[in-house]
């Protein structure tokens, strides 16, 4: 599968939320084995209104409200996948996913291996992720990086409307568990995509902006902050190339290294707490694979090592912001 051609075809305007909903609706229409299960996906319409209206269209069996039982219904998703269904399990937000992490780590990610390849688990788990809405320490996590550590699963972070619209179908076609992280700040994002936008590949990172001076490597909600920073850098005569990882596991080293070999400089932008965030893995790989092409230390712009505070000025200060990205890029190019 590769990115659906959009050039020339008719365009439609929609939000990221609409794009995810369209993808879910299409999946439900295409394959009766597909169903959506999670807290408040039905009557409430979804915590972020993603599934609003789907209950009326597909009924309570396929738009299945669950009790507050994260481990229970994620494990049930694993079992349903083993039983021939194609579940889309919505864990409302990554903040609650610690409660089902055992099922993901010890069952979803291991059963194929522990069974010697006899069973695989075609399960898709969707979660909202990220900070920025003043929801404080327990509701502002960015833990995609943790999931990217787990062999046996794929981890996707759609940052664009095309990916929000197209990654789900590809994920559902995958025979193994796929986790999709949707940044909470993107749901309102509005834009144009091809009316016939369809499945997209989930193997390759994407160059969202071409540039020769430095590679800015990021994913998810941070992509837009990074694009903003790139504009500012352009004003300073610094042409940044932006790599949107798209898939956090497995990482597309080829695209990352190709960009870094060209620009010889890199800054990684990651909303996770800096220590032990995925940004570290990217940096380590660049050093392993491109050390001799590097003209400067690799910069990292991440979240400060603090539980996210409630007040806006402190939350903003804790998270990666365009000025910090600009500063890190300038430091890397010595300007």
């Amino acid at each position: 599968m590769n990115v659906a051609p959009t050039a020339g075809t008719q365009k439609i305007t929609l939000t990221y939320r609409d794009a995810v909903k369209a993808a879910i609706r299409e999946a439900l229409q295409r394959d009766e084995r597909v169903f959506l299960m999670g807290e408040d996906v039905g009557r409430y319409g979804g915590c972020y209104a993603v599934s609003k209206g789907l209950l009326d269209e597909f009924g309570p069996d396929r738009i299945r409200d669950t009790p507050l039982s994260e481990s229970g219904f994620v494990g049930a998703g694993i079992g349903a996948a083993l039983g021939g269904m194609r579940p889309i399990v919505e864990v409302m937000t990554v903040n609650f996913s610690m409660l089902c992490l055992d099922q993901i780590l010890n069952s979803a990610a291991t059963i194929r291996h522990m069974s010697g390849g006899q069973f695989s688990i075609p399960l898709v788990i969707r979660m909202a992720t990220g900070a920025g809405r003043q929801l404080a320490a327990q509701h502002s996590h960015s833990l995609e990086g943790w999931y990217a550590h787990i062999p046996g699963i794929r981890v996707l972070t759609p940052a664009t409307l095309e990916d929000a619209r197209g990654m789900l179908a590809t994920a559902l076609a995958d025979p193994d568990p796929v986790l999709i992280f949707e940044n909470v700040l993107l749901y309102h994002m509005t834009g144009e995509i091809a009316a016939d936008a369809g499945p997209v590949d989930i193997d390759r990172a994407a160059i969202r902006r071409a540039g020769r001076d430095i590679s800015l490597i990021t994913y998810g909600g941070s992509l837009w902050k990074t694009l903003k920073a790139a504009e500012e850098l352009a004003g300073l005569g610094i042409e940044a190339e932006i790599v949107d990882l798209r898939t956090l596991r497995p990482l597309d080293d080829a695209t990352i290294m190709q960009s870094v070999r060209k620009t010889r400089r890199a800054v990684i932008v990651d909303e996770g707490w800096k220590t032990g965030s995925l940004s570290a893995e990217i940096a380590a790989r660049i050093v392993e694979q491109c050390f001799w092409s590097l003209d400067a230390p690799i910069g990292r712009v991440c979240t400060a090592e603090v539980p996210i505070p409630y007040p806006k000025h402190l939350e903003d200060a804790a998270l990666p912001q365009p000025p910090a990205i600009v500063a890190a890029a300038r430091a890397a190019v010595w300007r």
């Binding site: 807290e39 408040d40 039905g42 009557r43 409430y44 319409g45 915590c47 209104a49 609003k52 409200d65 669950t66 009790p67 507050l68 039982s69 994260e70 481990s71 229970g72 903040n95 609650f96 409660l99 809405r133 003043q134 929801l135 404080a136 320490a137 327990q138 509701h139 400060a304 090592e305 603090v306 539980p307 505070p309 409630y310 007040p311 806006k312 000025h313 402190l314 200060a317 804790a318």
Partner: protein, 331 residues
């Protein structure tokens, strides 16, 4: 408020106290909702309006040494417990004069003075902590109770099960207060529980339980006093189900597609404040001018908390990483 009596004494002062406490919560939250519209308060705001009798009734049975563990819907418990209104309002403003220096916001009210342990926004997350607080009391032979508030939705979480069993197994002084307001966000009780008679669940842990009309503050107080007495008698934990209803949306983002206006209206007829007022007036324990006086005082208190918060200060950004771990020096 005296903790050690087993029955509520419906004297005029006590009735006025109950009424005042419920009204403080109601007016405080009505103002909070306005302030949310004005974007003075941000993030999630979960209102307790309609459920005031539960927090106020239960607090009557607790003493100063007892502890409280609550949820993200905890303004009511905080105010009824005696956390200063200024501190709670300033917390929601995010000012450093807030009860948690503004770090927590509406969902994370903490107050050491009143042994108010939050303010936990992970559904079910507070229950094991309450068990631990009670374990500490038991191991240190302190005759204290820990009251743990949670919604009926939390009863589906594994942590509910583990906590009930631990508290019962170790005969710990925990008062589990289940605020059954019939909905978990948009999920009705019957859609989340195979056994909708929540308090019956306590039986499978051999925990004594009772279900009470959560719209009747006197009934809640009486039940809570019985429960606390049983706990002090060494019977181990007690499970109190308070049947109540949330008049407002789950949070400020909720379109309430899942319930009817009629249902809401029917429950509003059972408003705990109106109910106590009517009864107290009928039995001429209180009079209109009492209510007017209380309303005046509360209006002043609420306004003062807004002024206090407006006048409050933003913590300097340089302080961003404080209170993550204890600075080595101060140890």
């Amino acid at each position: 408020m005296t903790a050690r009596e087993d029955k509520p004494h419906l004297t005029r002062p006590h009735v006025l106290h109950l009424l005042r406490e419920m009204l403080r919560i109601r007016r405080f939250e009505e103002r909070s909702a306005e302030l949310y519209q004005q974007e003075k308060i941000r993030g999630f705001l979960h209102l307790y309006i309609g459920e005031e009798a539960v927090a106020v009734g239960v607090m009557q049975a607790l003493g100063a040494d007892d502890a409280i563990v609550a949820t993200y819907r905890e303004h009511g418990q905080a105010l009824a417990r005696g956390v200063s209104m200024n501190g709670v309002m300033a917390e929601m403003y995010g000012k450093q004069e807030g009860s948690s220096r503004g770090r927590g916001g509406s969902m994370h009210i903490f107050d050491a003075k009143t042994r108010f342990y939050g303010g936990n926004a992970i559904v079910g997350g507070g229950l094991p902590i309450a068990v631990g607080l009670a374990l500490a009391d038991k191991m240190q032979r302190r005759p204290r109770v820990t009251a743990c508030f949670f919604g009926e939705g939390a009863a589906a979480e594994g942590e509910f099960h583990e906590s009930m069993n631990l508290a019962a197994l170790w005969r710990l002084p925990v008062l589990f207060v289940c605020e059954n307001n019939l909905y978990a966000m948009g999920t009705a009780l019957a859609i989340s529980e195979s056994e909708t008679d929540i308090h019956l669940k306590a039986q499978s842990y051999r925990v004594a339980s009772e279900a009470v009309d959560g719209m009747d503050v006197v009934a809640v107080e009486a039940a809570a006093r019985r429960a606390v007495a049983a706990i002090h008698a060494g019977a181990g934990p007690f499970f109190l189900e308070c049947r109540t209803y949330r008049f407002r949306a789950h949070s400020m983002f909720d379109a309430q597609l899942y319930r009817s206006k009629a249902e809401i209206e029917a429950w509003k007829q059972r408003c705990p404040i109106a109910r106590l007022t009517a009864w107290a007036k009928a039995s001429s324990l209180i009079h209109d001018d009492d209510i007017a006086a209380i309303e005046r005082e509360i209006a002043a208190e609420v306004q003062a908390s807004v002024d206090f918060s407006e006048a409050g200060t933003w913590e300097p950004v340089a302080e961003l990483c404080r209170d993550v771990t204890t600075p080595r020096e101060v140890r």
